[in-house]
């Protein structure tokens, strides 16, 4: 590593930012977070924990239900082998607690008395019904921030509605915007994009709300309650769909993988000769005469430029009138090229195209390696370590890190309940037998 503005590796300029001193604490170091969360909030908790917060995940005595989400390690279903749970719960410690017992409630209140943040995703009114609502907890700890992240928020006609990822994506508008061009799939349905992203969208906004509340607490010393809604977060996350409707009354059309538009904008996803697909981002192609020449010269190297090298194409009007033909030449080129050659060749000529990659291509990618994106995480109980995804952003003054793999069920019961709260051995035994921990 040389300078902050041009680190070198294999003769390539790979650096932009000063690498973080890995001995430094994370940005949220010193914050204690309690998480009572299912699939809705666990990613928000991960964002905090990987940034250095001391996050204690409080699960029911048998563990959160999302420990039963596959896929599982070596395809052996088990509540300690859920790769989904592993991913979403890194850097957290875990205890089990039955909040519906007086002893469980007492332990929770004692933990909350010294916590900075409580993140919870239970049904609206549930924690209040146990005497664990914001008002009660804040009475002992006025700086406490409690974030309740629920499907539809704490108030309103839908507050008690039940949901899953696909129903949130229906109500939030993701599905009304996503599907296919008819040429790809005739008469296509709306399609809910995959990966559980309604929970991510909710978690991102919950995290933003919590960080804002932390800054307010820094200014005033006061905590507060945050009522966050997955539905509202999703409703905000359809690019221009709302602005288009408010501006013209037009409703966006579903199409194959491009920017939101109220009309059938041109297709931009093309097959390559090796069975891949290239996304050429509608607005990215922007063919001026100079850019067309770049393409034509590139295609010409493999004899695929057809007539695009002719002088008459150095005229914006000809480019506009011959657009369909130009696109056809591009498609022919891609079909005689490979996905990665088309992608890199385009980028080298300043065309912001993207290869549609799967994990088969992403894991091991050189650019990601340069950013030290692939994180080895030890699973000591298995005697193995596994490669996890790293962060999207490099915090160069407060490094992001996975400090430990996801907790086993009740892994830190003794460390926290005895070590911090001073429960005795006999209490631990009685509480375990009594279904309290």
């Amino acid at each position: 590593m040389t300078s902050a503005n041009g680190n070198q590796q294999d003769g390539m300029d790979i650096g932009g930012a000063q690498p973080a001193d890995l001995s430094l604490p994370g940005a949220l170091d010193g914050l204690r977070v309690l998480e009572i969360s299912d699939e809705k909030g666990q990613f928000c908790g991960k964002l905090m924990a990987d940034n250095g917060a001391d996050l204690i995940k409080i699960e029911p005595p048998n563990g959160e239900a999302c420990r039963s989400f596959g896929p599982f390690l070596d395809d052996v279903p088990h509540r300690e082998r859920s790769l989904s749970f592993w991913h979403y719960n890194t850097s957290k410690r875990g205890i089990t607690l039955n909040l519906e017992t007086p002893q469980g409630q007492d332990i929770f209140k004692r933990l909350a008395a010294s916590a900075d943040i409580v993140l919870e995703t239970r049904k609206p009114g549930y924690l209040e019904s146990l005497g664990l609502g914001y008002a009660t907890l804040a009475a002992d700890n006025p700086g406490l921030i409690v974030c309740s992240l629920t499907p539809y928020g704490q108030t309103g006609p839908w507050r008690d509605y039940v949901s899953s990822d696909i129903t949130q994506m229906a109500g939030g508008g993701q599905m009304a915007s996503s599907g296919y061009d008819d040429i790809d799939v005739p008469n296509p349905p709306p399609i809910a994009p995959g990966g559980g992203n309604s929970w991510h969208i909710g978690a991102h906004y919950a995290y933003i709300g919590i960080m804002a509340a932390l800054y307010y607490r820094f200014l005033t010393g006061e905590g507060q309650h945050i009522d966050a809604s997955v539905h509202e977060a999703c409703a905000l996350t359809t690019e221009g769909a709302i602005a288009i409707y408010l501006s013209t009354g037009d409703v966006v059309q579903r199409h194959t993988g491009r920017h939101a538009a109220p009309d059938m904008s041109p297709a931009i996803q093309f097959p390559t000769g090796d069975g891949g697909w290239l996304n050429t981002t509608r607005s990215g192609t922007n063919l001026t005469p100079a850019r067309l020449k770049l393409l034509a010269d590139w295609f010409d190297q493999s004899g695929m430029a057809e007539d695009l090298t002719e002088e008459r194409y150095q005229d914006p009007e000809v480019i506009a009138s011959e657009n369909d033909h130009i696109v056809q030449v591009m498609k022919n080129f891609f079909m005689n090229s490979t996905l990665m050659d088309s992608f890199h060749g385009g980028q080298e000529r300043d065309f912001p195209w993207g290869a549609i990659r799967s994990m088969d291509e992403i894991i091991g990618d050189a650019h990601l390696q340069d950013r030290e994106f692939f994180k080895e995480v030890e699973h000591p109980e298995l005697g193995r370590s596994f490669t996890y995804p790293g962060p999207a952003m490099l915090f160069n003054g407060s490094p992001w890190r996975i400090s430990r793999r996801a907790p086993l069920i009740g892994e830190h019961n003794s460390e926290i309940l005895q070590g911090e709260l001073g429960l005795t051995n006999s209490q631990m035994l009685l509480y375990a037998e009594g279904g309290i921990i």
Binding site: A4, N5, N7, A17, Q18, G70, P71, L83, S84, H87, G156, D160, V162, D165, T167, A170, A176, S178, G179, D184, P189, P190, I191, P193, G194, M211, A213, F218, L219, E222, H225, A233, A235, L236, E239, G240, I242, L246, T248, G249, V251, V252, H255, G257, R258, I268, N279, T281, G284, P352, G354, S358, M359, F373, F386, P389, A392, M393, L394, F395
Partner: protein, 441 residues
Amino acid sequence: MPLPTPLKGIRVVDFTWVRAGPWAARWLGTLGAEVVKVEWPLNLDTLRQNRFTVPPGVEPGPNSTGQFADTNANKRGISVNTRTDEGLELVKRLISVSDVVIENFSSRIMQRWGLGYEQLKRIRPDIVYVSMAGFGHTGRHHWYGTMGPAAQALSGLTHLSGLPDAPPAGWGWSYLDDTGGMYGAISALTALRHRSATGKGQHVDLSQMITGITLTGPAFLDKSVNGRPARREGFPPGNRTVWPGAEVVNNYRGPIAAPHNAYRTSPGGYNDWATIACLSDDEWRNLVKLMGSPDWADDRFDTIDGRLDHQEEMDEHIEKWTQTMGKYELTEKCQAAGIRAMAVQSSQDRVDNDPQLRHRDMYVPMDHPMLGPWKFQNAPFKLSKSPARIANPPPMIGQHNREVLEDLLGVPHQELLDGYENGIFWPTTMDRYPYIEEALR
């Protein structure tokens, strides 16, 4: 008295443009930061030119697009030519009294301007600098460009979405412009907490494309841990959790379940669809009861394996039932019976027909100088003591030059006037808008 805002006293210098970057700064402004958007009319923000969002009857122009308006609410704006020495010097003075610098240019632009992190730190030692380049500032392809849809493709998100034996469907809009923007705000807020705790600023080097990879965790681990090939038969399974006939493997959305699909509803229009997901046998029994316990719903469907085995038949029957009613009627009936269901809502549905969003004040009315009475999207969370707020419409280009340059930075009035003549605050080749003349008087 309005309640205080959470980011009171924070000033943000916003060099961002297009969607992801401005959306990041928009949320800092909505949380109460004073955001100053720095622009130059000859390199117009493309959202100021968005062809879809000029309302009928409104004169087209850089201040007249609905998409720019919502993406840049709660900011002020100045027009400064950073390619002039004087302009650059004023921008540096602005940075010296600011807390956050945020930009989404290509990876080396700020350094070329002399505004890389090392220089920013000399101007303001505790500055929080958030860069939002497509591939980030670090890594061999740092100079690659991305827009949202291409970033989604590269991140693996696109591959997770669609029907098997068809091209990837991906996302029908720029999810990573929205979410890349979220991560810009997340980066700034996280670094501000670090500054509150330590007094130190930092450079946060965000990659829009990589934000998408971090949202594919279970798929990532299924490959890195289990070695399962990402390209396989029956994947992705559309709206279902397992495609009929395909091997039963989790598709990374949540638990395996059936029914789990979108169904047509009455009267059969483009967005007359609703989703139903039964995550347990109990939920399925509730649905059967709600459908009137039809004969077809026999014991073959009692268990999840049976429902997966007969998924096509089950979905056809369910859709015959859903087509007998409207999507909201279906939603209400299902929810009353404890069944996870929701109408597929278009933008129009969300603005006009969604009682929950209306109850929660999701669309906040405010006048816009060009667009007239307008609606702005509110925050999806309620902070009980220091709420987010929609305080002002987006800046017209160069609207706040006098406020920012004279009142904040102390530029003498004559110097400001001279700068307009010299091409520092407005291109000499362009007419000035009446509001600019007005502000200079």
